[in-house]
Symmetry: C2
């Protein structure tokens, strides 16, 4: 039990008044005002991004192992929330926070959440969600048209057709991807004579009946981890997610995909595997790149395979004409997932999964007696989740308030910031950019300019000339130096977390210019409209300052490596008039 | 394009201002105030529960097949939301709305949603959710103790131990049940020599390796539809959810369960099925009854089977000592699901799944490079979902504000209302109650008193005496009359929906006093603390009035049935001094 907390004497009358009552709005308004100001203050504070409190300290704050017995005053709990939680939350909306896909949100989103909570509609069923069921279908039709752009008549017929679903609102993108692969699995093993379908009989019977040894899902090595997780959940097995290597642009190598299909598909002389789905990505979580969807689509449909596109990140960019070109082929996909809490700037969390064919979601339709009856109009007949909030109000209203034009401007700014960050990094000289994103994600790392020049010099040494031994020694050294910088980057990222005035994330990629070596990189996501040039310059300056200091610990090891292959290394400094970064 | 809507000229500066800005809180406060008043007005309005608008009319409102191009003013969109959505929403918080588990919520929940949205933490990862990750673990420890009540040392060690998870916060109960069965499936087919586990290799290889023909899940016929759905998703197959009949108290028949296990388990001479889980229910969605969890637990663990309890509905009743007895055995279950948006009175939607063993969730742990790294402290390593909102703040704060005591008072009132409704129904004479709930759900139907008496008279006719032919004719007539009343009840429910001043739901059950016949029933869920005696009386009076009128259309058919077995029927009116309802 915590001390110093005022207990309230419980009575049913007191409790009843806590519930929304027509005759007691005053308290509500009063608290609402206070809260709005409290939230305002939080965003105004100039503290660090993650608050300086340590994880062990937080462990000591949240260590009550028994739940509270006596009621406490709302104002006491709100003030506890302020000091214990709000003050130690991550300022994901800070212009200095450019590390994850969580960003600032428009303030009207908070108003929408108030409406959603107050109405408390449960989307599972028309009896608990009247107008909101129609809003959901309207939004899904908008998104369906945005992606698949079918004919007017299609949307006029289906926008409010309760017998089908053009897609589902899901709790997030992972559940969206799961739903897409779930449908793909049902379609891969439909009922026929002597087999009731995978839905009724399970994966074992499905494969046994059809004489397959396994079902597989194909995705590039850049695929989101939710694909592997979905394969696990669906009883397909994680090992049966076969990953295809990417090119240097982080896009699936389509030649390798074709080869792989040949080794799997029994009709092409491969093993007895059933390919359940090919998954394209638009864009990748780590690098913001987009697969060549048109090529993937052709390959998938030629082989009769469900083609799913994970556009959880990039999907909203379809709103803007200048980006549509990158997505060519998406309009022929079988299913597409898009998150609302990423580029639609909605608060956590909401995903969408859309199916080109209005019939697809009927493969997983279910019903029960007391709810979502067979002939009902309930949206819950098609979803993995049961109870669902009226979350779709957020993108629905946001598309009205911001509009296609507004999102266009936001993405233009995100593009500008991506280019700007690249320029700022190059200006400092001590950084190396490692991807070329279509969609607002930059990966890079710190390398002191002289080290970078030496590395590039080594790389430029012609492979054919000179003795092979020398070449091997140089290549080995490049790997060793990269390994050292990898360790350095991990330390740097930790030091930046400790500094806490700025934030980027970190990941490890094999598709940089050093492939097949895995390279640890810093990762910036540039979608916060509050992040301007000034902030980007400060972020990079901070990284440069902390990195230069930290590099002192790593320099000796680096110099030993240089000495080993030393004397004959041509320094790029000696090359006339150029910085290494501009040569490559 | 809609006419009459004011377009806003887009500019990046205009958009930037929509995002939460330290220097522009005025608009936010202003809209917040207006919204609070708008919400207040909605609850004050005396309109029908579902609004009188028809579904085709709603289809005509939400029929824009293209998404909006130009931005609109926030105030215009808010006013559109008011007239198009709020006015046509379901008043789930109305004291006359006693049909589903969605009820009124305390007003502070709206304040909590504002905090959740404003902070916009993503629970998947500590880098996007700092204090909130600790809040989540603290809440899970509270709930774990409430259910499993392990020793103090267990909670002190694990409450903030990031290497394990005592449970997950899920988007709802269906995902909670899915997670529990997912873990059960992993435990049923662990890796061994020559087999990498179901996780890696899928269901086919799991069954093949172990020589099973199928995996099954056992649950009573009262099981929630999410169990069947989960079996489908998990590749187990819906047909492999084997349902066990219930007794007249809607509880799984444990003798039949034992028998069924014998026919399945190869060690007991059954077919080659692997029993993945036995699912107990506390309480059932349709009738609020609780399985004999202690007996189920013994049976499950004797056979080495994962025992899951679906306590999505009833779980919070564990807070109150007088209810704990009903749940005996739950403390030994392997996993338990509990919804926050039902008896914790939180807005839509949040579920929890808890595992007795702190090791269980590690069977589904996953990781990736850029997020939820293997050695991280990220809660996202254990969840089916990826991005998740800070939803746990709601029950966490609510347990402080309402407290164990407060919830006790709310449930006492729910119990009182359940008994009260029963009494009111009996007082009217024309109703028949069909279950005896532990937890606040009453099923009943309208039967005019004289019809009920005749029905009961027929039922009382001794089976042994008289000729067999006569008995058969009577039994057949009971079935026919019930069938007639079933059709009547469906019509009545539709008429009540049209009247729209009150709301109960409807379902079909085989476990009433007429089993094995399926009986259509009205279903009341009595958890709204705003529903007092006065409201219950009005609800029943409305039902009685509309039903009596509607019965005129059904009476002739009924009378024909009576005539067929007519003359010799002893009327219960002739029995001295008793109403049929009190005799049975």
């Amino acid at each position: 039990m915590q001390r110093g907390i005022k207990r309230v004497k419980s009575s049913f009358e007191y409790l009843r008044k806590l519930f929304i009552m027509p005759d007691s709005p005053d308290k509500f308004i009063e608290f609402g005002r206070e809260l709005l100001e409290m939230i305002h203050d939080f965003f105004q504070e100039k503290t660090g991004i993650h608050s300086s409190i340590t994880l062990p300290e937080l462990s000591n704050i949240f260590n009550q192992t028994s739940l509270p017995d006596s009621p406490q005053l709302i104002k006491d709990v709100l003030s506890e929330i302020k000091t214990k939680i709000i003050d130690h939350s991550v300022k994901v909306g800070s212009p200095y926070y450019i590390g994850h896909m969580t960003s600032a949100i428009p303030y009207f989103m908070i108003l929408l959440e108030m409406i959603i909570a107050a109405l408390n509609q449960n989307q599972v069923k028309i009896e608990t969600a009247k107008a909101s069921s129609f809003v959901e279908r309207e939004l899904l039709a908008w998104m369906h048209r945005l992606v698949f752009n079918r004919r007017d008549a299609f949307y006029e017929r289906h926008i409010q057709n309760p017998r089908i679903a053009l897609g589902n609102i899901t709790s997030d993108g992972s559940v969206g991807n799961l739903t897409a692969l779930f449908v793909a699995r049902e379609k891969a093993f439909p009922p026929d004579e002597g087999f009731m379908g995978v839905r009724a009989s399970g994966m074992h019977e499905a494969l046994r009946h059809h004489g397959y040894t396994r079902g597989v899902v194909l995705v590039s090595t850049r695929g989101h981890y939710s694909i592997r997780k979905a394969a696990n959940i669906l009883g397909i097995g994680e090992e049966n997610v076969v990953t295809i290597a990417v090119d240097s642009g982080n896009r699936m190598d389509t030649k390798k995909l074709k080869k792989k299909i040949k080794t799997l598909d029994p009709r092409l002389g491969g093993e007895n595997a059933k390919i359940i789905a090919i998954v394209g990505i638009a864009g990748t979580t780590e690098t913001g790149n987009i697969d060549r969807l048109d090529v993937l689509e052709e390959i998938a449909h030629e082989a009769g395979i469900h083609f799913h596109v994970d556009a959880c990140w990039g999907g909203p960019a379809l709103l803007v004409d200048e980006y549509r070109g990158f997505f060519k082929g998406i309009e022929k996909a079988d299913s597409v997932t898009i998150d609302a809490h990423k580029l639609f700037y909605c608060p956590m969390s909401m995903g969408m999964v859309l199916f080109r064919s209005e019939k697809d979601l009927n493969t997983i339709r279910h019903s029960s007696q007391y709810i979502i009856r067979r002939n009902s109009v309930d949206t819950g007949r098609f979803t993995l989740e049961g109870s669902r909030p009226f979350a779709c109000l957020k993108p629905w209203a946001s598309l009205k308030i911001i509009g296609r034009e507004g999102y266009g401007l936001l993405f233009k700014q995100a593009r500008r910031n991506t280019d700007l960050l690249k320029k700022v990094l190059e200006g400092f000289g001590n950084f190396e950019c490692l991807n070329n994103p279509e969609l607002f994600i930059l990966t890079y790392r710190f390398i002191p300019e002289d080290v970078k020049e030496r590395l590039y010099g080594w790389k430029r040494e012609p492979a054919g000339s000179g003795d092979k031994k020398r070449r091997k020694a140089v290549e080995k050294t490049i790997v060793k130096v990269n390994r050292l910088i990898n360790a350095f980057t991990v330390k740097l990222h930790k030091a930046l977390r400790r500094d806490d005035s700025t934030f980027v994330s970190r990941t490890t990629l094999e598709s940089t210019r050093y492939r097949p070596q895995q390279i640890v990189v810093l990762r910036a996501v540039l979608i916060n409209p509050l992040t301007t040039k000034k902030f980007l310059e400060q972020i990079v300056a901070t990284q440069n300052r902390i990195a230069l200091q930290l590099w002192q610990d790593f320099r000796p090891a680096y110099e030993r490596m240089v000495e080993e292959v030393g004397g004959v290394i041509p320094s790029t400094r000696e090359l006339p008039g150029a910085k290494a970064a501009h040569l490559l």
